[in-house]
Symmetry: C2
Subunit: 305 residues, 2 copies
Amino acid sequence: MAGNPGVGEVDAAAYMKHWASRVDDALNRFVPDGGGEPPEVFRIMRYSLFAGGKRLRPVLCVAGCEAVGGDPGAALPAACALECIHTYSLIHDDLPAMDDDDLRRGKPTSHMVFGEAAAILGGDGLLTLAFELMADEEMASAAGPDRVLGASRLLAEAAGASGMVGGQLLDIRAGGEPGGTAGLEEIHRRKTGAMIRASVMMGGLLGGGAPKQLACLALYGAKAGLAFQIVDDILDVEGDPELMGKSTGVDAALDKVTYPALYGLDASREMARRTVDEAIDALSGFPEGAPALASLAQFIVLRRF
Amino acid sequence: MAGNPGVGEVDAAAYMKHWASRVDDALNRFVPDGGGEPPEVFRIMRYSLFAGGKRLRPVLCVAGCEAVGGDPGAALPAACALECIHTYSLIHDDLPAMDDDDLRRGKPTSHMVFGEAAAILGGDGLLTLAFELMADEEMASAAGPDRVLGASRLLAEAAGASGMVGGQLLDIRAGGEPGGTAGLEEIHRRKTGAMIRASVMMGGLLGGGAPKQLACLALYGAKAGLAFQIVDDILDVEGDPELMGKSTGVDAALDKVTYPALYGLDASREMARRTVDEAIDALSGFPEGAPALASLAQFIVLRRF
């Protein structure tokens, strides 16, 4: 269906399942069970890497690569790098000095199992591993070193002080003082949005996307990231803790700035739907369509409601 | 003096001063005072980046580049990346969950000033910034993207789970239980040695060094790194806290495995001197000499005794 992203042509759940399993295989190759010296730090890293993550960021990277006509398999090291960064951020966010969470996806958090020092180091190890994967020789020869360096730059910018790290600091500092709509959006744009946007763009860049295509992917990613965060905030209010594998009501207890707190549940749901529509609209720049990305955007917002 | 590294031809102190100041300028350009959004995370990063570090790793990188005939100025982003990694490791090592240090180079440590969560995030920001700098476009066009990717890989390996992060975990776990000579050497090889070795090699790789030259630099770096750590252990026993800007006797109080604890002070001093000689011997592979590296190795061991 030229000129139409072709919503629904791809079964997002099946697509997620297929690529999540390819990402798991690649992660198992990069961080093998029982491999690595010294062993304990690799055990710590694997504990959180294989704790039931949905691999959303890696799958978005693969789908971004596919959308521009690239070979999605060649982007797998970058997809794994995204998951390493995401996982480290969860380990550090859960620390007693941060959100002080005991459970994550139904399992004890890293510092509950290994202790605080080891959890900090496990996170540092994953963050560093991400950039070791970005320098993967096979990916560099498949995609070319210039594209790989560009993707590496995108990842560092999204994960770093102006992106995820800065957003987490703003979030901590904002406790109870929302700073209005603009403040809330800035926190989420940096803390979650930047990495989701980078995931899609890295795939597009590695796949050889033209500047116009990359601009579409950037807009898609920004909107999808925002929608993801709104839904996350909603699920923290009304999600089923059993299904989600983590405590709900945490944001309210921590006095966190959230969409439902600022706008109410109904308006937040409406915002999530509208934002997903905008993400899908951004794909109209792909004449051949980008059905996987379109379905994934729907999937994000439909996760539980 | 062909065939001779030409010890003493370069004044190491002056060389350090010159290049440390170039590195400071570059760091000020990459992380400008009052620049960056959100501002607080950049303030946290700058606080530790400009806390009086001697810039040893960046200077070794520059000297490694020079030794193979490369343009040392072109390696400055990589040199700064090394300092970012070193600085983040100090911030995280000082945390209450790790070594619980209040002072570093005579100044309150990051978590004492900004709080624990912010210090963790400041460290994460610096670690991520290191790889943003490794993807610097100017460096990539000067040295070529393949060399830059290779240097990035060296950095990630040295800083990561098998290198510095793994060494720090071993160090924490070893508390009071040396594990003999082999255990002590493994801790130091990973924790300090790997980054010092990588510093020299990254410079050599970016400067276009031949495989044989890189092998010499690897051996030089491994020996220089070991000497550095032995001297560090010695200074913790007999150094002047005023001069060093940090508490001494910390290792003993923490029951840490050290060279003086295992071998005594005299034998440790002798080991340091011998190891520096071995580092300098490794430079005999440079027919034109590598006087800066030779002098720097002497400088490391002569720091205070």
